[in-house]
Symmetry: C2
Subunit: 584 residues, 2 copies
């Protein structure tokens, strides 16, 4: 029991010296990768760079205690940082203590929500983000982040609450471009794109092993940072208008509670919930993928608790919302992380950097950080998914396009809410008009099939319908209209039989509709029968009055239903010469 | 085509003298019933009594032109009146021209929405109101209306935006009770309850025919009104604090457009949509029920247009939102209405009353009108439904209770929105954890069944799973967790087969999950197979890359899938001695 909530008790006692050496190596690599990323994502969130470092210590230690994935690397990530900026931006201006307070409170509320969801086993809430919605949302977020970072990469100002607003501002301010900054930004971009696309093949050809080449290619941004920092320092470019990181406070963050302001917490409930769910979906996908590669077990409910603890850790140490990120986790996995302790050692690495390396960051140009962000987030943009999903499903495509457009035009919160709402709506719509077949008896058999597809015998006084969907509120009235309409159009009908082999559930609305259908048919002198009702549904129907009021019977096979009404017809058709017919 | 949108062209030309006589008789009866109701529901809506009369003319004529139901009686109804009061009350105070303007605009916007829904065939939107939600909503609305009318019935003041607020006000002001008003109100209540429960049996015993007795019992309120009006006039009770209707403006309403104020229209969009849908659901249920009794056809999409036209008619003649009501429609049907013309003749009756009878209403005590409302709406309160639904389905029960409580505590709009949201949420939740069975081969057959229920043979290297639900976003991740977990727990597994006979759809999210499952199993050295995939789903899968990447195969029968992996085992089990086993 204790081990379920504290997975560290599982692997901790077995910890060996060789595992320690291995985890320390991994931690060194990930620390080097995490320093620039944590600074950069703090900028995406509109926060001072040291806040990124703060969010990369306590959360990693807490995840090591509570997490079930061996490879997941928790910390600041692009999309959650953007969502933090959007939420905090509605409450205060960037640079104010209120803005920082809102970001910290977001981490706190989000952490509490995640823990509550974990304890209450509400992980299924993440299901409400369908794949096209989350994919569209991440693509649009990536575009917005990239657009937002183009301004610092070129040395101009262009802020906006959504993609289009930022693009308009960029166009308006492009004439104020700073040539030194732009040179650094563009050179960094070219270098980083080259590292991403060409360095690994080059190293491989030079005889470097696959994994090492991969990891070297991923710590490339550190080289860009070192070189551009040196250039700015050497040539005194900061006096030519190149924006630099400047003084990053030295030392560890102080532990403190986030602002305990109930009205603030109420205002951030919705954004905190969205950050929690998006962060969880991102994190659990990475964790499951990496765990499967090594056939390890990830517990989705415990992951909620671990992410929650990590966010509370971020909040009490002055950080902002964190989650498990894709790129760093893959490096963790490929470098061979054996236990979550690798994450804790990474936290120590970041702590050492915060204590001793911050002076080195003084001349780091913001343009380089912006360039690292642009290269990182453009890998999130997956426009190819649009085409794949269009081919597979028009409804899913509509949900994805709506999510992208709403996010680009209205920002992350509205985009996500619009996408989720539309996906749910389209799902309900698709089940509201289920496939219905009029069925008839295949001569020579007791089998009933769609009369539109097969040569089948039916009696003009009997209407046999098969509905290929569970019966519940989205389609309850559809069924009423259908039977009502069929009977009104066809005055000869004396009996209606509903064949239910594909009906997995009948809810109270559908039961009400069945009762209304039965009553209306009765008023019109028509009997109503059911056939092939599944066991669990039959158990439920027995609890209602419907079976007592039903004018006809409930039959195991559709054949029995027809035979109970017209024994002659059913029997004659059964013994007719068998017709060889393809049966769907 | 023209006949579809103007059903009057269908029945109009066949109109005969005998039909005319019949429809006129029906109209006379319904007019007598409608006069007090239209006054009373105007009071529920917080409007002057004449507005109720105005809403009972043009809408009836327009419904006669556009409607497809022969018996439906359109006009002011209780729940829509309460919803009008709630919406208009947020914009202006009762008694102001702005309040009346808001009520008229609600009818206009609601009418335009209904017509748009009809032309776009969006009638399925009404499906989103599940039966437990609408039932709970009507029950709570009935309780709120009854509580609200207790104050005028007792001669005290007690206004409130929800049931609990009204009850608290009633308790606080009960000491200001006016004995004369209370005497009239309570006497009317007792009389009306007696009419409702005991008059019909009494008349039947006195030899009156069933239908006539029924109709006489339903026009009972007119007697209460005549008697109490006479008493107030004779004894001058209005000078003793008995509130009376007073001067009702004589004559027909003037035609005019409602306030064309875009900001007002935007504010009432949501309440107008809710009124439209609730009104439509109420109306179409009545229409379908009555049409079925006489095997007539009601066109749900055309009904939207007809109700829309009726509401626009209400708006341009100074009325408020209308819909098809249950009680009057039943009288219409039972009195033998043969065509919608009966409704148009009722409108003429109301017009005559407005021109000549309004002076008679001067001394009508409001307490009597309040009593007629209380008796009418208490028949809407169906607490028995709570018990029936509790027995049948706990999820539906939860949705109904939530709707009732939210409506009583937060008013009609929030109540309805909360109920619909919860119903959709519970539906998605129920499909998010579908029934899954591990299946094995029944010896002596090629049939595979749940190993938990049957004596079945399975190989430790093969995991055969059957999911009894369509695969889509609510359960996509569930499937990943399930297979991931099963494989992690059982290191001997080399093959996973998913049996899909109950899968009616696979959306893009589930496809993504299947691809992830396939990739993760592949990384773990396990093959992934599908069996019994339905034709339409197979067609779709062929459009994706999934089938190309699938490590295993897709097999028609589950037996073929197992035989493709372990031919010996499947074959040996097939030819083993047949075990007689009940097969689910």
């Amino acid at each position: 029991m204790l081990k379920r909530y504290f997975p560290i008790l599982e692997w901790g006692p077995k910890y060996s010296r060789s595992t320690l050496v291995n985890d320390l190596t991994v931690a060194a690599i990930v620390t080097i990768m995490l320093i620039p990323q944590s600074l950069a994502y703090a900028l995406v969130a509109g926060l001072p760079p040291e806040i990124g470092l703060y969010a990369s210590m306590a959360p990693l230690v807490l995840y090591a205690i509570f997490g079930t994935s061996r490879a997941l690397a928790v910390g600041p990530v692009a999309v959650a940082s953007l969502m933090t900026a959007a939420a905090a931006g509605t409450l205060a201006s960037q640079g104010t203590p209120e803005y920082l307070g809102a970001a910290v409170a977001l981490a706190m509320v989000s952490g509490l929500m995640l823990i509550a969801m974990g304890l209450l086993r509400l992980g299924f809430l993440a299901n409400f983000l369908s794949h096209p919605v989350i994919s569209g949302f991440i693509t649009a977020s990536g575009l917005q982040i990239a657009a937002g970072q183009l301004a610092p990469a070129l040395g101009i100002h262009a802020k906006g609450e959504n993609f289009f607003a930022i693009v308009i501002e960029l166009g308006r301010n492009i004439r104020f471009i700073n040539p030194y900054t732009a040179a650094i930004g563009i050179a960094s971009l070219i270098f980083l794109f080259w590292v991403r696309s060409s360095l690994k093949p080059l190293l491989r050809r030079a005889g470097v092993g696959d994994r090492v080449a991969d990891i070297l290619a991923k710590v490339g941004p550190v080289a860009a940072i070192a070189i551009t920092t040196a250039v700015v320092w050497r040539f005194g470019l900061s006096s030519h208008g190149v924006s630099i990181v400047g003084t990053v406070p030295k030392g560890l963050p102080k532990l403190a509670l986030p602002p305990l302001d109930l009205s603030l917490w109420m205002k951030i409930l919705v954004p905190a919930l969205l950050i929690s769910i998006v962060g969880y979906v991102e994190s659990i996908s990475v964790a499951l993928t990496l765990a499967a590669k090594s056939r390890q077990r990830v517990d989705p409910d415990q992951e909620l608790i671990a992410l929650g603890a990590a966010n509370i850790g971020a909040a009490v140490s002055g950080g902002f919302p964190v989650t498990g990120g894709f790129a760093r986790s893959v490096v963790n996995y490929e470098a061979g992380a054996e236990t979550p302790a690798a994450g804790a050692f990474t936290a120590v690495g970041i702590a050492l950097a915060t204590m001793f390396l911050t002076p080195l960051l003084f001349f780091l140009p913001n343009a380089t950080l912006a360039a690292t962000i642009i290269v990182a987030v453009l890998s999130l943009v997956d426009l190819g998914a649009l085409k794949r999903i269009f081919i597979y499903s028009k409804a899913d495509f509509a949900a994805m396009v709506a999510t992208i457009l709403a996010t680009l035009a209205e920002g992350v919160e509205m985009g996500l809410i619009a996408g989720v709402s539309l996906a749910i709506f389209l799902h309900l719509y698709s089940t509201s008009k289920p496939h219905v077949a009029v069925v008839g008896q295949i001569p020579g058999t007791a089998t009933f099939r769609n009369v539109a597809r097969h040569t089948a015998v039916s009696d003009p006084e009997i209407l046999s319908l098969r509905v290929d969907e569970s019966l519940y509120f989205p389609n309850a009235r559809f069924l009423e209209d259908l039977i009502n309409g069929s009977v009104a159009e066809n005055p000869r009908i004396r009996h209606v039989i509903l064949e239910c082999p594909a009906v997995n559930a009948i809810d109270a609305s559908a039961l009400e509709s069945l009762e209304a259908i039965n009553q209306r048919l009765k008023d019109g002198g028509i009997t109503f029968h059911l056939s092939e009702v599944k066991g669990p549904i039959m158990d439920r129907l027995k609890k209602s009055h419907f079976l007592k009021e039903l004018t006809g019977g409930v039959h195991l096979r559709h054949y029995d239903a027809v035979a109970s009404i017209k024994p002659d017809l059913a029997d004659r058709t059964l013994h007719a010469g068998r017709v060889e017919e393809p049966v769907a």
